[in-house]
Amino acid sequence: MSDQCNTDGSLNLVFKPVSRRLALVVDDEPINCVIMQSILEKMGFETAIAHDGYEAIEAFELLAPDFVFMDVIMPHMDGREAARCIKSMTSGRFTPIVFLTALDDPEEVHACIEAGGDDYLSKPVDPRLLRTRIYSLERIRSLYQKLSRQHDELLFKIAEEQENEALANRVFLHAVSAHNEPISGLDSYSRPASCFSGDLVLSCRLGQGGIRVMLGDFTGHGLAAAIGALPTSELFHAMTRQGRSIPELLTELNHKLCRILPDDRFMAAVLIDIDPVKGEFCYWSGGMPPFVYKSKDQLIYHSSSGLPLGILENYDFVSEVGSGRLTDIERILLMSDGLLDVRNQEGATFSSCGFKDLMDSWASNDGFFSALDERLDQHCQNRLPDDDVTLVSIDLEKALAVLNVSSDQSADLSPEPEGWEWALASGGGYLLDHSEVITALTDTKYLQDWPAEQAERLQTLFGELYNNAIEHGLFGLDSSLKSTPDGFHLYYEKRQALFDDPPPGQIRIQMTFLPRQQGGCLRLVVQDPGKGYDLTRLSELEQHDDPSRFWGRGMQLVRSLADNLIIHPPGNRVEAELRW
């Protein structure tokens, strides 16, 4: 800024020649151009001349001046039209256009400003007035530049934030969940909040057929919540494999988190060891809702007694570890506080409406997670929870049955292949594309013993069903748009745009695998929040098979790949089976 106010408040209009760049003077009268040029050059401008509107636009494009002084009436193209054109070319920067009018006619001034002029001066131009106008317009321009810079910074920050959240999500999907071993009888449910909120489930086998499960809940969200997740997961798996006890693991975890997390961050957690040889379970819980187990038709709640990890450096965990007999215990349920705190539209928490019923359903039936899903849907009414909702249910009969088999057999006999169940909800803030889902599934190692062709068949089948759910169920796109070549492009452009900024709603994926003699049976369920297929139109399409059509092949593929296919009315829940 070269121009400042003097201490007495008068404007300092002594312009330093170096501070200005180029002014474009547009006038069809050569003498007017010469006069303007001489005034402007004294003020430190370089100048360029144009003699009509066309020349002005050309010169503007070529030279990018920082001021334009424009006559109104000129041959070929007048000043107003040129101003309109120039203003349409200068998005993102502010180049003032000052009209020079012969008449001080209010109508004409109005028309000039309307055409995009930023100010006007009457001819003959008074040099003092011209300076004042330039000064005031430069002040506006510097404000505009500041605003525009701040706008860019803001956009950058938003992009950065989004990238951080995607990164946090990725850390979880790949680095944390991937290390969990599949354990039959251990099912987890998670409904992520609008942005990643720090719940993590870790599981690992202990020696002699036991299992260890931990559910942790970091304070904060996004990348901040994910910071502690990596070392926690690494320590958990490494120390569990070394056969270290719960207090030893907790002491290490606490120590590590105290060092790496800022003072206001910590991790609440519940940790359980199940030891079938001793017939015992050991647990520790700090800052979590009670965990629950079912014994002889009774639900027993164990409240949390410890301090969350990462707060007090020298903390004694030994005295806080509890234990109990496994006899008569059927199931154990761990949960994060996200579930209890989910609020409905009226602001009532889930713990105050519906939690008790839900626990009764957990005690009595196996379809617990789908019942939970429905109840949460009812409760939330399409709103995303503020915190991650995570539950882990351990079916001891299943978990220990398998464990007994492997511990009873001699070492050279490989254990019976186990069944598994895998579920995922995609959407809300985190819409995954189908290859990310497949990566997450393959990371579980569930598919590692599958024949390659069956894994490929599953990928293709899943890809079709999942993309259908995204495109039609979630985005509401109509496939018939693809019936022309242009429409085909348009369809995928729209898809991309919607994918980048998805509407609310989630797609639920569930896979259940049961091994059979030398083969297996996989049931895949994909459910979307949409209105469903037009089933009659679908069957018409399938009857009129036309190989030169661009679209409408998905369901045909699905039918040929799946050994069994059920489309549940109204068509937003599709169930497919693969058998071999």
Partner: protein, 94 residues
């Protein structure tokens, strides 16, 4: 074989390849001399219905400029899907 344009299709052939596939094939369609566009499927191990749409669309554009399209080296699940969709009725699959 100067009159054949070879286009190598990536491992995962789905809507995400849409842009690249269009760029490659548009170039092939414009190339004078080459009358056959050969889609090399040797690397493909994933193929979805959108990709089938893109192939059919290419066939249509090629016919308009008197060029032919063929698919070569398809195998495994990709071949199975091409067969299910009866693509061979309009484009030779070798």
């Amino acid at each position: 074989m100067s009159d054949v344009t070879l286009i190598r299709i990536p491992e995962r052939f789905d809507f995400a390849c849409h842009k690249k596939f269009n760029e490659d094939t548009d170039q092939a369609l414009k190339a004078s001399g080459a009358s056959l566009i050969n889609l090399d499927f040797s690397q493909v191990n994933y193929l979805d219905s959108a990709a089938l749409g893109m192939v059919v669309y290419l066939h249509k554009k090629a016919s308009a400029v008197n060029k032919k399209v063929q698919i070569s080296n398809a195998h495994g699940i990709a071949l199975e899907i091409l067969e299910v969709a009866n693509i061979s009725k309009i484009i030779p699959v070798k």
